[in-house]
Symmetry: C2
Subunit: 408 residues, 2 copies
């Protein structure tokens, strides 16, 4: 008998019929001899409807009250899923975030899990109940309702799996698992049987939309092995786990791409201490998430700083930089480029294999694709290319590393 945590997103519980399907699936897992804890999101559409009301009522709803309002969505779905389970003869109990003992810190609408007191969950499990826990929510130590922000239900599932020492944590979603690349772009992309936490993190932060980084980080920190799999079929998915020696044999695990990027390059800044800090500080204050950051000295002796960001942030970035640059140097100039995309090749095998960058650049060169910026980490090589070439670039790199084939 295994103790299994299964997370179902808003689409999976998006109607009463789908709720019945989730219940049937939970029953099946239970009938196979397992104890089951389901973590569910709000029915799709419910959260948006509540937010709409709040914004009709006031232009600036307080985040504390948004949490109180929005957290009702998950509370409704847990009650409904528990009823659907009981209807097919499964003893079940719904558990709110507070009842699950999920204590949070941080600010409203984007809380972080600080601690879990699983005593109520353990008591119900001891009674043989299947639990249905509200994802995305918890309470502060003072008892204020907190939601966990984007990807919060995944985080709840992983944190609960750690707290109740589950054998398996399954993230059930609308994809089959983690692929070597997005199969809509690379048709011969292959589903990975496993991927390490670090690789998953690099994939997440370079555009793979399967999971938010912080859920993966949490799983890594607490050693929670989880599986990303489909909520629509019973195929095995992808296990995400701590790396083991055999994993290093694979040079590149996967490729992720990110579109709609823009580059800002600042030139004409004296190469003096404090200059970079002033520039990056202005962008951070404007809450712009920078992706690649490259600095160098140009031929004219001035420093040259380039950043990439989502194109939506470009205008805000220019506005934030203008006053700072005026103060720093009369020669300062801003140069921008939109319509670029980023391709990242990720794999822990890179650490022990040389020539990875060369293989990748050759593949792109052979395909006639020009490389813009380059940035690397220990287990990732990222390049920017013209957005119109990104799909071709992905296919070329995927082929160059033979990612369509099982590694030997």
């Amino acid at each position: 008998m295994a103790l299994i945590v299964q997370k179902y997103g808003g689409t999976s519980v998006g109607s009463l019929d789908r709720i019945r399907n989730v219940a049937a699936r939970l029953k099946k897992t239970r009938d196979e001899g397992n104890q089951v804890v389901a973590v569910v999101s709000a029915m799709s559409g419910v959260t948006d409807g509540l937010l709409k009301m709040a914004h009709e009522l006031t232009s600036q709803p307080s985040e504390r009250e948004l949490d109180v309002l929005v957290s009702t969505g998950e509370q409704q779905s847990i009650a409904l899923v528990a009823m659907a389970l009981q209807d097919i003869g499964v003893p079940a109990a719904s558990i709110t975030g507070r009842q699950a003992g999920i204590y949070t810190k941080g600010s409203h609408t984007r809380g972080r899990i600080a601690d879990i007191d699983p005593s109520m969950m353990n008591a119900f499990l001891a009674e043989g109940k299947t639990l249905v826990v509200a994802g995305f929510q918890g309470v502060t130590p003072e008892g204020m309702i907190h939601t966990l922000g984007r990807g919060g239900s995944d985080l709840t599932a992983i944190a609960i799996a750690a707290a109740i020492k589950a054998d398996v944590c399954q993230i059930l979603t609308d994809v089959d698992g983690v692929y070597t690349c997005d199969p809509r772009i690379v048709p011969n992309a292959r589903k990975l049987p496993e991927i390490s936490y670090d690789e998953m993190l690099e994939m997440a932060s370079s555009g793979s939309k399967v999971m938010q980084s912080r859920s993966v980080e949490f799983a890594k920190k607490y050693g929670v092995v989880f599986e990303v799999r489909s909520s629509l079929n019973s195929n095995p998915g992808t296990l995400v786990l701590e790396e083991h020696p055999a994993m290093e044999n694979v040079v590149i695990r996967g490729i992720s791409i990110e579109r709609s990027q823009s580059r800002v390059t600042v030139t004409g800044i004296p190469d003096e201490p404090g200059m970079s800090a002033a520039i990056l500080g202005a962008l951070a204050e404007a809450e712009i998430n920078l992706d690649m950051i490259i600095s160098n000295i140009a031929n004219d002796g001035y420093a040259r700083h380039s950043f990439t960001m989502h194109s939506n942030d470009l205008g805000k970035a220019q506005a934030a930089l203008k006053p700072v640059l005026e103060k720093l140097s009369s020669n300062a100039k801003i140069e921008t480029e939109s319509g670029i995309a980023k391709l990242s090749a990720v794999g822990i095998g890179m650490r022990s294999h040389s020539g990875v960058a060369a293989t990748m650049f050759k593949a792109l060169g052979d395909a006639g694709i020009n490389i813009g910026m380059i940035s690397t980490s220990e287990i990732k090589i990222a390049v920017t290319v013209d957005e119109r070439s990104i799909e071709e670039a992905a296919r070329a790199v995927h082929d160059a590393f033979h990612l369509d084939k099982e590694p030997v």
Copy 2:
């Protein structure tokens, strides 16, 4: 500065516009120099919508899960009312039943308030916040969500007023206050400036729909003075309070009527110990609320038991009685009468005034109205009449006691 609890029902918060009105009204009370705690129900329609989903999902939703589901309705309205207050510059905080420290006992969907720990409310009040508390809900000592059943938000308001030692508790509703009789039936009915708890209880249990008995009982137990007043205007309403000597000068405070009653009379039962208990026990087991109960010995030496009940329960009562009567006596017979109504005259002055029944019966006799059953308590005389005569009966008794005139 007074500390005021105001309770708003589901209609009062039934749309975003109405929520804005409630916020404006709370602000006005606050601007007059008071501290305010609002207790609100779910937006009208929300609870029914949730129940409908539950019943579509399963024919017998568990009461525990119904509580989890339905309690989200109030949680949504408190967040929205708090946002609306903040939008007009009032510092406000929503408080769920659990946060209000409302601890309950009893069964799910009809919990009773056992205790209140007002520490979070007091802390927010000390910060100068206007509080918006979810009516109708609490938690068990084990942390399970509990709803309080019909009239639960009134009960919440009165219990909170007791716990935070409020100066006033106002139940804002769609009637102006408590009247000497229903003004739709007796056009010259008069709004009462005050009524005692005991009179209010007798009115409630004899058909006046203003408030549930248990809220009045709770107020009486804890000495909470409350006012029933309109949510639509600022007219003074009716104070409900412990009786004081001057109140005894009024013989009859008010008249309430209850329609759709039926009588069941059981005859031919030997006058032996245990017989009444067997009959009443069978009806109690079938969860039939009896109203008047009259027993006597008939001329044939057999006992004769009559009960009144809501006509909806008549069939159920007959079915419950049949097997018992067959066992008790071969002479037992059931006789039923529908289409009757009850008129109750209520007043603590009855205790010290004689001739009240005589005045009432004479008024009915003069109007040519036949009296069926009669039952009395220390402060109430109730009679049944043909349902078609009930309005005329109410007017006749109202006139006989000059209830349209201020007492001197």
